[in-house]
Symmetry: none
Subunit: 90 residues, 4 copies
């Protein structure tokens, strides 16, 4: 039931990062409403993407560390399938 | 002051997409709190990333459209379609 | 000395994919020489990128499968650092 | 027939970058043959990807430059800088 990333302090750190990402997405809505310059909006999207990638890499690291070692081929494929979805944004 | 993307209906569509992305980021927080499976979290991050990329490409398209000398909408779409293929490695 | 990805058939498959990627990069040189349309060049670069990503994911899968299970935190960090370099193309 | 990127010096520069990328892909084949460490292979793929992205952004910049109505080089650079931030999530 519990997974690798749930050491309490780590969980709080991930939640804090996602709170910030949520703030960035709300900031984007304001930028659209205020009709801000397109390039600034795309730049803010890149920053949000980078923040989410940071969370993904953190979660993935814990997963590799805690789950993969007792799983086998299937577990390994699962990890790289997840990486592929990240790489291709889909 | 106003920029390319601010046709009123378009603005509403972008805001709706960002609202959904905000919901996805909040969903991610719940997933962390509930200690959901790592791979599901990374998959949800990919989906959020894809949603944000969609907004970025839309904003970029409008930007190129309003800077483009000739060819208009078709040329602008061509550029951002190329960027999308790059972004998604396909 | 030997690593996870070196089952002979697998090695041949990876080499074949890289041969194709090499052909794609040479094709790109011809496209530049023949002054082909920019967008077609960018599209060909996306295809080459996708081919290389395919090799990276394959190698990573073998790595996770064969090396990580006996390593510890350091091994796991190594994997996600590699994924980060991929994600950020650096 | 001719396109934006074909100022002779620029063309030579792009060809030189692609030659290097071709060398990187050949290097990758050697690494597979010599059964080098997985993570080093993935790192080399990231470097090759980054090199190809550099060419894509250059070609895209020329394309946008030649389609852009006003603002010229600065506008075109702005667009491709934004695309680069997206591509590299930063």
């Amino acid at each position: 039931m519990t997974h690798g990333y749930v050491r309490e302090d780590h969980k709080q750190a991930l939640l804090a990062r996602l709170k910030r990402a949520e703030g960035q997405v709300r900031g984007l809505q304001r930028m659209i409403e205020e009709e801000r310059y397109c390039i600034d909006i795309v730049t803010q999207i890149s920053a949000t993407r980078a923040a989410l990638d940071g969370v993904a890499l953190e979660v993935l690291k814990d997963h590799v560390l805690h789950c993969v070692r007792e799983g086998g081929a299937e577990k390994a494929a699962e990890v790289t399938d997840a990486v592929e979805r990240l790489l291709r944004s889909r």
